[in-house]
Symmetry: C2
Subunit: 438 residues, 2 copies
């Protein structure tokens, strides 16, 4: 089928042979499909959708457009987690070592942050010396020996996704569930994994603003991932307030260490345990979620998770003293400023998008892909949703290196303090497993 | 507004400033908008439509992306006709000289044929010596002195349209009424006309297969053309059978001369008179359609239309003897073959698409833009819709230069001969003037 005929069939919701879509994706990665046809394809999919069968074909074609990593020496199941991104989401950092310490392999390839959300790579790179640009050979070696490695996307993985993603960004075709699905899964499949747990966030700080949209995306990811041969489950989580107590790279590493030590915030600890249990279950290291949770808690209590994280940092060139004594060895900002409440009452909303943007402006994130990051800056969130506070109570501690005065009122305004106690909805909204959708 | 934001707004049916759309079209013509954004724009318009106001803005921007011809020396109103294309449609050839002989100026820039429909330029070039590649200076000079000139599209007219059209062809975005409207009108507006009459065809041989679609296109063209400052009217015509008695370039020139002599077929003569009357009315050379028809009939009866055609041919380098004695001086095929009816009855359908394709295969048209045309070949249609014929009666005379045996049965099959007399619907279905839509 010619590309123009594929586009026309999608445009008109007519049948298309999955092999044609798979070939289209392969040709995309090889540069054989011109940009103008790829973008017309994306806009047609935006308007008309794409069946699960065709989204599986697109995903597999995108995966196969580049290198697919193999792990011949890894002795246990390979599981990974992907989050659709949120403010203060550092869960990968404690999660990967905890799961690895329970005996599974976690070959995790992550991205950088853009806009109001941070990226796992940026957080890792705030650890002095930590290298995310390992060779694939070293990556698979670490996965086999240590049970985990965390690196950045390389050019030879799913090149069709990179092409399509760059085009979608400039042709207003980002917000399409089948295209988001194929983009996420093609990259994850290229890691050579068996199982994948998704953390699909919804709320003001997330890509999906409402639960219905987030649920549709989660279901699409689970269905298509299952169709592409993965064990899949998705956890639907609330992103109506920042996750945990910190936003900013070095600060989030410190919080991750606290989680691994069993002294982390309640919400990030809960999410780490929940996602870890799902990963153990999918990877066959637990027989049910309860047992999975127990195993993750045990890995925290025994210190095995923290040990694994320390080993990872050392293996990837980082300074292990930063893990042992983060206060001394992690980057620190020159100044901190407390932002306080002008009146008392209940913290009824914390605008995670606004805090994410403020952290970006401090230097913790990127406005454009070429911006450089200051690992030391960020925001500590001191007042949580539902807290009853007095006038003058601290809302946040801002870690900054330059004059950040203009941001303080912006940060204060992100906290809504009202007279009545708000309903605080649970962090985990729902879990969607592959078999639930059959 | 950035291009990506324009695309997003159209995608979501949100308001867009017409100035932004106009600038988009100008930038398209200057190569400042990349292909991938242009094609995403087209697919978004395909799915979501475009308001009349924005289609006017797109049209004017596309017109202004290149040269807009001026006619400072033309002393009367400048009118033109555009047809959406049909099989056997040679109406421009008799129409332009008839209207010019009634005192208006006809600056006509035409296209070539592709697929099953022929192009005015190809028909004109079948006249030995006729040049369609005059300079714009010579074109405006002829319009001022002679009242008409017929030339081909030049690269500096509406370059944004050329870019968009080429992209639409390979991105499955041809069939969009706002995009068709802007494409047709931007080119016509660049001719420097005041008034435009449209012949919008519907039926199996036309681009628009059903009346409803054709009517929507006609209304869009009239509304947008009026919004862009033209006096507009559209005539909706049936294309369920080929127009007139001939398909093929030299044969169609001969039929055009017959129309100008008052001995043409009933349907092509009727359409010439109808469209001519509309042009005279819009151009202010007639006070109503009745008077306009009279004037066109008079230009036929007096021979002034034929004289004007002869003058045009001479002025554009053609051999005027071809007009005086077409049998002798127009190109002729080496062979003719009669295709006859296998059984008797009423001619209940004549498949103009099938006959157009057969003529193309004979060499009268192009399968791809690089094909060359044989001016001498074609098909004379001898049995008309509604005729009661005997077995063995002639259906068509095929004019061919090569062995065309394989096409004879295809041509015969285009004629449906049935037992009962068919309803023959009138050629002209409706007329839509600018004021009808206000």
């Amino acid at each position: 089928m010619r590309v123009v005929d594929i586009i026309r069939a999608i445009r008109d919701k007519l049948p298309v042979d999955p092999n044609d879509i798979r070939q289209f994706a392969l040709d995309l990665g090889r540069g054989k499909v011109p940009d103008y046809q790829a973008s017309a394809f994306c806009m047609a999919v935006f308007h008309q959708g794409l069946s699960n069968e065709l989204t599986v074909a697109l995903t597999l074609g995108m995966r196969d457009s580049g290198r697919v990593i193999e792990h011949p020496e890894a002795e246990s199941a390979r599981v990974d987690k992907h989050s659709t991104g949120g403010v203060g989401d550092k869960i990968s950092l404690p999660l990967a070592p905890l799961v690895a310490s329970c005996g599974l392999c976690v070959p995790m390839i992550s991205g950088r942050g853009l806009g109001h959300t941070g990226g796992t790579l940026d957080k890792l790179e705030s650890i002095p010396g930590f290298r995310i640009d390992l060779s694939i050979k070293r990556f698979t070696q670490l996965v086999a020996e240590l049970g985990l490695s965390l690196i950045g996307q390389t050019n030879d993985l799913a090149p069709a996704d990179r092409r399509l993603y760059n085009l979608r960004d400039v042709t207003a075709t980002i917000e399409s569930i089948p295209l988001i699905t194929a983009s996420i899964l093609s990259k994850k499949l290229a890691e050579g994994i068996d199982s994948l747990v998704l953390d699909v966030k919804c709320g003001c700080g997330a890509f999906m603003k409402n639960e219905q949209q987030a649920r549709l995306l989660a279901e699409s990811l689970v269905r298509v991932g299952s169709g592409a041969g993965l064990n899949m489950s998705a956890v639907l989580t609330r992103m109506s307030a920042p996750l945990g107590r910190t936003i900013g790279n070095s600060l989030e590493v410190k919080e991750s260490i606290e989680i691994l030590k069993g002294v982390g915030p309640k919400d990030t600890t809960e999410l780490t345990v929940t996602l870890g249990a799902e990963m153990l279950l999918l990877g066959g290291a637990a027989i049910d979620r309860e047992q999975g949770k127990h195993a993750i808690h045990a890995a925290i209590d025994s210190g095995h998770g923290l040990e694994k994280f320390r080993a990872l940092v050392e293996a990837q060139g980082g300074d292990a003293r930063a893990i042992d004594n983060p206060e001394k060895h992690m980057p620190k900002s020159q100044s901190t400023t407390l932002v306080i409440a002008s009146h008392g009452g209940f913290v009824s909303a914390v605008d995670s998008f606004a805090l994410g943007m403020a952290a970006m402006k401090l230097g913790a994130g990127r406005q454009t892909v070429t911006d450089t990051i200051d690992p030391s800056v960020g925001i500590e969130v001191l007042a949580n949703l539902g807290d009853n506070i007095e006038p003058g109570a601290p809302l946040a501690r801002v870690h900054h290196n330059k004059d950040a005065a203009s941001l303080f009122s912006e940060i204060a305004a992100a906290f809504d303090v009202a007279e009545s106690r708000p309903d605080v909805t649970p962090l985990v909204i729902d879990k969607i497993a592959g078999q639930d959708l059959e």
